[in-house]
Symmetry: C2
Subunit: 248 residues, 2 copies
Amino acid sequence: MSLFTAGILIIGDEILSGRTQDTNANFIARNLTSSGIKLEEIRVIQDSKKIIIDSVKLFSEKYNYVFTTGGIGPTHDDITSESLAEAFNKTYEINSEAYNILEKYYPEGEFNISRQKMAKMPSDVELIYNPMTAAPGFKLSNVFVLPGVPKIMEQMLQDVLLKLKKGKPKKITTINTDLFESKIAPSLNDIQNQFTDCSIGSYPYFNLISKTGGVNIVISSWTMNSLTEIEKEIIKMIKFNGGNYSIV
Amino acid sequence: MSLFTAGILIIGDEILSGRTQDTNANFIARNLTSSGIKLEEIRVIQDSKKIIIDSVKLFSEKYNYVFTTGGIGPTHDDITSESLAEAFNKTYEINSEAYNILEKYYPEGEFNISRQKMAKMPSDVELIYNPMTAAPGFKLSNVFVLPGVPKIMEQMLQDVLLKLKKGKPKKITTINTDLFESKIAPSLNDIQNQFTDCSIGSYPYFNLISKTGGVNIVISSWTMNSLTEIEKEIIKMIKFNGGNYSIV
């Protein structure tokens, strides 16, 4: 079985300054996981040509798929396309298909020089169509270049995922218990050691007012065909420790 | 004037699987920016000892301050403290101050072996106190190790920031206009070229139902004493193009 891996590059000073809460990485992450693609890393990087080039090159070699968001608009701070061209030794030029799409989209006389910039891309790309605001993204090598505006990015990603070679989806089960994490930690460790093909994550939460809390135990595996046996072991362990459980 | 830089490492498979939307990076980012510390990079990395060690070492050399969140609880998947010890060639051992804090916090007989794990840290750390659930974080070299649970992390960060050497806060002004981005792109570029000590970001938004939209123009600078002159230029430009504006 082949496992596909991915990395995400969020390009944007506005995320690093804290002005904007990024939601694109989470949206892509959820969709990759359910498509059987293992997201291994997310980086939020500055709007800097050198940093974009270095990061794209590194990710492109390291992961099967790379997704970038941000920096493909019409203004001077949109430098993703230009950087991608440099990263892959391509010419940065008007893509005629993108040009035609944009020319058609705008009312006569409004397809000005700034908007034309959105048709400038590395040579030899495959367009990713934008059903909402026309300006396309593109695929170059194993890198998918998407816009930063969430609603638009989300639509375009769906299209990308349809065409992507996918792996076997990750199997995931979540068991909630009202026991505290420290109570179950040793037994959970034992169960993890018994089943090395899966990963058992333990995510505690607290209600600071009622002073109650519990744990979500997430069992996941990219390779196993069933998690039932591990599920049973964990439920047995919760009962043994006097706790309640539910499958989330 | 010295400029302090920072990097954030979010340690957590649950973010990469998309199960959890991270909000810690944004909270830290906002607080750093207002403290005059420039956040240059965020990485979300896997719960893997090797990856944590490599990333911490790299960030510790690259940035003045490093913040990590996640992986300091009592279970087998909490490997941040252990990894930090290895990254800095320290012993991974019971910290007696942390041990005492936790022992006092738990009712008699409930400070079990798993909870004791939360007192295991690299040698020579400085504790970061946790006013909510007792288990402390720590500072080692220039790395601040914080928990992943947002409410707890947020409280502890406030404490860290009080003691931190800060820079001059970043100056930021946001001007909103109802003009489209492509309309103002060339003039904005000219203004950016006139004022090279600031960065002018342009963040478009669309209302897809009403088909209206606009741009938030964010002027920011770590070094300039005033942004008023740039603000005036941008407002003049908006008016010249027939748009409305407001200072956000």
